[in-house]
């Protein structure tokens, strides 16, 4: 017995070193942004040039059963000092043992199936200083257990520590109607930003059906912003983070060239309980006009029955086209429009990207707002149409 244990131990020690080579990758990106319309608020700038750096380090051992990853994000912005920021996107240890995976540290996860918004996806705080699509996220401290079984994949998340949302400075474009004073942030829980959140998620696929169920109990990542006065008596927005319980369902079915998608949530917070959904489809035309180009057409409808703190997607239709050129440069073009069916506000977005050589990538983005109603949460951005160009070097 002892001998066996000793053998196992020495085998374990032998298995650890030598380490595989440290894997270093990432990108550096220069971003230029122009706002052609005159600003809504005094002092807002009309253009900006910024730099971002996203390095990634990986080290695995024990035949890839153990791995440590570090991913940082840094942005230098000389105009908006709030957007000059750094974040640990990932700093985690992954351990795989049989059908189980353990992840300890700071990490990001993605839940859901739809494209226009991500209702069920509530683990990470959105990085509101970065992209406008809500797909950039702040790293979240967590203990994440996963078990992979024949009956599906089951996840348990325990999250100590909360990441507060960050907002743009008053002289930046795409900012809220009043400055957000995060020094006045309040929490419903007496534990403040140290409340321990928990979440469960189950995913499975049966043939062409993908299913996800999730339950989250903890601090709502979306703050309630209420007008108030700061220490100097100036009007500001004060964030309040409530406790929430959210049930989420996400589904996708493939029927020939159609992908049918649904996300539904029921969220219960102190201020109100509500339901929200996004449902729609993606239909792909392959090899259009006898070329290699694939055209995906997307339509999604979103509804949100919140009364107190209505979201942007309260009763909105998103329609979009995605061209995948399938060429050597992986060229892509995505064009979409979101129309509020009550208030008629429209948001148009065009995004195109293309690889240059082997290591460079050029991305262009156009965002335009039109007919934005004063009552729409988008109203503060209504004069912030922009053109963005990003040139990134990948290594």
């Amino acid at each position: 017995m002892m001998k066996k244990a000793y053998l196992l131990l020495s085998l374990g020690l032998l298995a650890t070193p030598p380490l595989a080579a440290l894997d270093f990758s990432g990108n550096v990106a220069a971003e230029a942004q122009w706002f052609p319309r005159t600003a809504q608020f005094a002092g807002q700038f009309d253009d900006n040039l910024t730099l971002a750096f996203q390095p990634k380090l990986r080290q695995h051992w024990n035949e890839r059963r153990d791995e440590i990853t570090l991913e940082l994000f840094l942005r230098a912005d000389h105009r908006d000092d709030q957007r000059q920021h750094a974040d640990i996107r990932e700093l985690k240890w992954l351990h795989v043992s049989g059908d189980n995976e353990w992840r300890v540290g700071i990490d990001s996860v993605f839940w859901g199936v739809t494209e226009s918004q991500h209702l069920v996806d509530v683990i990470n705080q959105t990085d509101r200083l970065e992209g406008f699509d809500g797909e950039d996220k702040l790293g979240q401290p967590m203990l994440h257990f996963t078990t992979i079984q024949d009956w599906g994949v089951f996840h348990v998340f325990v999250m100590p520590g909360f990441r507060e949302a960050e907002f743009r400075s008053p002289d930046a474009r795409l900012r809220l109607p009043l400055p957000v004073d995060t020094s006045l942030t309040r929490y419903e829980s007496s534990d403040g930003d140290e409340h321990i959140d928990v979440a469960l998620r189950y995913t499975h696929f049966i043939g062409d059906l993908e299913l996800g169920l999730s339950l989250f109990d903890g601090t709502n990542r979306e703050p309630l912003l209420t007008p108030g006065l700061n220490g100097q008596g100036q009007p500001v927005l004060i964030p309040l983070y409530e406790q929430m319980t959210q049930f989420g369902l996400d589904m996708q079915v493939i029927v020939e060239n159609w992908l049918w998608k649904l996300e539904f949530i029921h969220r219960d917070v102190n201020s109100e309980a509500f339901n929200a959904l996004t449902a729609g489809f993606e239909y792909t035309f392959y090899g259009i006009f006898d070329t290699a180009v694939d055209l995906g057409t997307l339509v999604e409808y979103s509804h949100d029955d919140r009364k107190l703190n209505p979201g942007v997607f309260d009763n909105d239709v998103f329609a979009g086209m995605r061209f995948a050129f399938n060429d050597v440069q992986s060229s892509e073009l995505l064009a979409g429009i979101i129309v509020d069916t009550d208030k008629q506000s429209q948001t148009v977005r065009v995004e195109a990207s293309r690889r240059l050589g082997d290591s460079w990538k050029l991305t262009g983005e156009i965002q335009a707002f039109s007919n934005v109603d004063v009552a729409d949460p988008l109203f503060a951005f209504s004069r912030d149409d922009f053109l963005l160009l990003e040139l990134a070097y990948y290594f």
């Binding site: 993605f110 493939i254 159609w258 090899g287 060429d327 992986s330 290591s359």
Partner: protein, 259 residues
């Protein structure tokens, strides 16, 4: 002497009934090739893909491949992209299913999203190359109908030459002509004919090596597009068989930890 002729004809009749049609012979060869390669269990390999355009400019991709044999169904396979750097960490998982559409998932590392994708159309290019998805997918016997054309010398070997017609919907080809060597069914050459039945591409495989004293795999696969002048070369290295991969390494969840 009509009676003698009749007797000769009668004597020959059973033989002509027993003799195979070219279609039966083609199917038998395809089945034998499939049976020869069965039992590999799993393999991993590295692939360097070089794309060459008409002007001779090249662009490369590096991909790691892991394949698990699934008895009675198509294989499960994972492709992990290492280069170009902007797609590093992107991975694709495919469960092949013969004539039924494959199950396919794509992992996008930038947003850590696993996306189930439609795999119905396989005629599109893989990574901007001259290989279509259907050219690199698992080759089950039932994916084609066959016709034996002839046997002929092919380099140092003797080859069976077969014509095969895709039996699945949405193929980009009307037919393919395949050269398989008669000893170990190594696929040495394939001609692809487009939907207008014109020669589109020619694939040639070389540098075959034997693994586990049985399974043959090519070192180089060269695809020349005869219509647009472009070419794609696949160089295969580090083949390893029976590496201990299992079903759980081919679960969509495992895409999130593939490096």
């Amino acid at each position: 002497m009509p009676r003698t002729l009749l007797l000769i004809l009668l004597a020959l009749t059973p033989l002509t009934l027993v003799a195979q049609t070219p279609e039966e012979k083609g199917l038998d060869i395809a089945r034998a090739a499939d049976a020869y390669d069965a039992g590999f269990v799993d393999f991993t390999a590295n692939m360097v893909m070089t794309l060459t355009n008409r002007k001779g400019e090249t662009s490369t991709r590096q991909i790691r491949i892991r394949t698990l044999e699934v008895p009675g169904d198509g294989d499960k396979s994972m492709s992990i992209f290492d280069e170009p750097a902007d797609v590093k960490g992107t991975a694709m998982l495919t469960y092949s299913h013969g004539l039924e559409p494959d199950d396919q998932w794509l992992y996008l590392p930038a947003i850590k999203r696993v996306k189930r994708i439609s795999s119905r159309n396989k005629s599109g290019p893989f990574m901007g190359s001259e290989f279509a998805f259907e050219d690199i997918g698992s080759q089950e016997v039932e994916k084609y109908s066959y016709k034996w054309l002839r046997d002929e010398a092919c380099g140092e070997w003797q080859c069976h030459v077969l014509e095969r017609t895709p039996a699945y919907e949405f193929s980009g080809y009307t037919r393919q002509i395949v050269w398989l060597d008669t000893q170990a069914y190594r696929m040495l050459k394939v001609e692809f004919y487009d939907r207008k039945n014109e020669l589109l591409k020619v694939l040639e495989a070389s540098g075959y090596q034997q693994y586990l004293d049985h399974y043959w795999r090519p070192g180089v696969m060269q695809m020349d597009n005869k219509q647009n002048g472009k070419a794609t070369t696949l160089e295969w290295t580090d083949y390893q068989f029976k590496t201990g991969l299992s079903d759980r390494d081919f679960n969509p969840q495992s895409l999130k930890r593939l490096r």
